[in-house]
Subunit: 279 residues, 4 copies
């Protein structure tokens, strides 16, 4: 178990009444416990919360009634107990017995057009032993073949673009990983969260793959250690879990994140090379 | 209330063990009651059912253990009681109070890239009075500007293609309608079903839009009468509700549908021009 | 006849030996006479010139042998005598008698995918009387339906994008006009040049359409008066006539254009509304 | 020198007056001599010929004045004397001295979006020794990574599609080869022709690359022997050299090609492995 203090402060200028749906609060599940949490709005406004089931993403809706400035300040203390597998092999689940509620994570989505990558995925990764190590192979290929380049992509960039244009940011790396997995018949989905080690601190994106009996976390960027990753949003791709969906003319004026991990003395997992993890 | 006898018979040749997930069984809800149903597999095999929540789509999984021929024969008798609104005006729901569980139907999906149609939708439909009549305006525009042409598109065709290439089938008409609605901030989703009036009988696709307090059905093809439409699948777009998802090398050898409606004497709704309907 | 003083100054930092091919010198033809011209390179280097036939674009090649700074300063005095048609009607040329050397301007190109706009063009403009006025109709549609927005597009943006995304700059407006014309079977090509009236001064792009017996100039942006346009490059689309094609790692450090027109007393054409022009 | 008898017979039904521009006649140049040629039209009609300079493609225009059936029957005897290089190394031409009239073959075109393949080409082939052998490396990669599959692509398919979708026909193989070369700064263009060895006989597409002092022929399909290839069209990509461009509603009713090579006793080149050739 490891404890993290984290938070995000977002400021906006509104020009008329506007509705915000934030997806910045930490999800709660067996591996993440929110010890304490504070959500402050400036001006003081009510907000409403909706839990979006896959991964228990939390949508917070705020209606800002007037033009002016608006701020949301989120802080939380979280205890994280990732599941570490020590199994030598983690297999794919045959479609014959795969839980039917993960089926939609096999289907193509806006930013992960797996249907267009079938032959490529088969050719590139079809010969690899199915399972955890094949997904690692996919991550290695992405890391080796796509340049991490801030500003190289836009909100319209999809896996079909990235696989050829070969540049992107964490979101693009995750989309490509997801698209390859789905093209191979392996369920995969998009995860956002707070993570230790980014400079400057920012929301990070990674992806999860359903193997054996749970979702395993992967990150082709190699920018961070995944045992320091605290889940916020879970969805088919970035379309589902934007950190802020905004209705109305609005300008972002400030954005700031922080996360500090306090290593727990009971474990030194965080300091070892971690490759098999689920959160 | 109207009663329908309907069914589908699908035959395949399998070349090795294969897994099928069918989405051909009628969904049950307040407006559709399955009076009787018969699902026969040839050879006799077990199947497993999973209800996919939006619209209560029913996924049927069958594992065919050997090479050979395989058939599924689905028959049902269904009582349909569509909701007909008589309201003179059906409004859009402000984002400030929209149920948060319809939010994901605002997001772009594989075949409905609403994020790329924002300016076009605003320019073309932004000046129309929001609500039911605006969605009708979108349907009219699609009907007037897109040619219904069998074989003109493929499983990879999306709304972004159709809006320029101007040809497609029911699935493409629905995708474009959905994409326009989402681009205008109105939740929309994809519906498949059995419908009276297609020649030859085939699965039909239409779309639903969330207005006021429920999902309303629309169909830009003008091929059928929507009160004769029996819902099977509901999803973000066609990716979610393919009538058959198949794992393994398989060849379809036969496909046949039928649907017969028996008009109930209590109502002559079916014979009047119906434009406002939810199923 | 009108006389223009114009020029461009471009500065670069080179990091190793580099080759530049500039397309910034005024083309000479029956309607444009270069009275005097001065091309200065700093450091003093040789350059080589190649005339690229369609429109007599002039490619200037300079080999910069070392890392350092490099500048090209182009100045010219040009006499322009546009052809003004006073014909009440300017017809399209039947394909049966169209000069065969304009045929390639009917074919789709990188940024003008006319093959994908066939149905749309037919639907939108097919009912208009063929000829000059139909091309004006195309320009009007573009002006009315596409937002001129600096920075909204990139060097990868094509007519297929713009027709849906509905924002762009002069180059995108020209590409869309060309694509529509070709989709209707009318030869069209891309023109770049100096033009009075842009603020800040910049290279402008417009398009030409082959009608009756010559190429007529069109500009859907309505930003400038076309009788103040001095032709530099002519090609199938922007790919052919980039103002600078650069081989080697180079950084642009400065770019500056100017153009001043001296109205000739013999004509007041420039002050009247001009809509029918060929240069 | 080798002699070929070849021909094509194309039949159409016209529904109203129509204009055809054929690109089926053999090009004449230093390596190909048309010994005799016969072009028959049924009904007997005049035709007009235009030589399109790159590669001296010959456009034949026929105006069919009425509805009915129409046939063109082209036959020729051709002497082919390919240039075989025996040089151990064939280098790329530095941009500093490259003939400026090949420059446009560096630019992206409709079906060869080299601008979008820059990073991929650099990553995949940038480490190879520039020159003939690198283009061979590109051909090998295409052969190894793209499936030759009749009917898998359409007239809208481009290199950007093929590089990910990994299936295509000769035209797609050529487009991808061209796009990779251009992305690496090497001029490349599209060639169509008659070729011995296809079953059934059909027009073939390959590509040429400008190296050292001439255009060298390449074919990533490995379907035929390039010394049995007789050039018809040469262009930026398939858009320039369609075997028939048709204006008017027309239906093709028959198409038939043949080519027979008579090996000349003076040379046994044709029977050896040929890899370095220009026609």
């Amino acid at each position: 178990m490891q404890r993290f203090n984290l938070g995000a402060r977002l400021q906006y200028r509104t020009f008329e009444p506007a509705t915000f749906v934030f997806n910045i609060a930490v999800a709660e599940n067996d591996h993440q416990k929110v010890v304490s949490e504070d959500i402050r709005l400036l001006p003081e406004l009510d907000f409403e919360q909706h839990v979006y089931e896959p991964g228990d993403s939390r949508y917070l809706r705020v209606n800002v009634p007037t033009a002016g400035s608006f701020e949301i300040d989120y802080r939380a203390t979280v205890e994280s107990t990732p599941y570490y597998s020590t199994a030598p092999v983690i297999a794919e689940v045959p479609h014959a017995v795969m839980p039917l509620d993960v089926l939609t994570y096999l289907y193509p989505s806006r930013y992960c057009e797996s249907d267009r990558l079938m032959r490529l995925a088969e050719l590139q990764f079809g010969y690899l032993l199915p399972g955890y190590s094949r997904v690692q192979g996919i991550c290695n290929w992405i890391y080796d073949n796509v340049v991490y380049l801030s500003g190289s992509t836009s909100s319209g960039t999809s896996a079909f673009n990235t696989v050829t244009e070969r540049a992107g940011v964490c979101r693009d790396f995750a989309h490509l990983g997801i698209a390859f997995c789905r093209a191979l018949g392996v369920p995969a989905r998009f995860v956002t969260g707070y993570v230790v080690g980014l400079n400057p601190p920012d929301f990070h994106a990674a992806f999860e793959v359903y193997l054996e009996d749970r979702w395993y976390l992967f990150d082709a960027t190699r920018l961070v250690s995944l045992d320091q990753f605290i889940r916020v949003g879970t969805g088919h791709d970035a379309a589902d879990v934007s950190f802020a969906t905004i209705f109305g003319p609005v300008e972002m004026t400030w954005m700031e994140l922080f996360i500090n991990g306090e290593a727990d003395s009971d474990t030194d997992m965080a300091t070892t090379a971690i490759s098999t993890i689920a959160i």
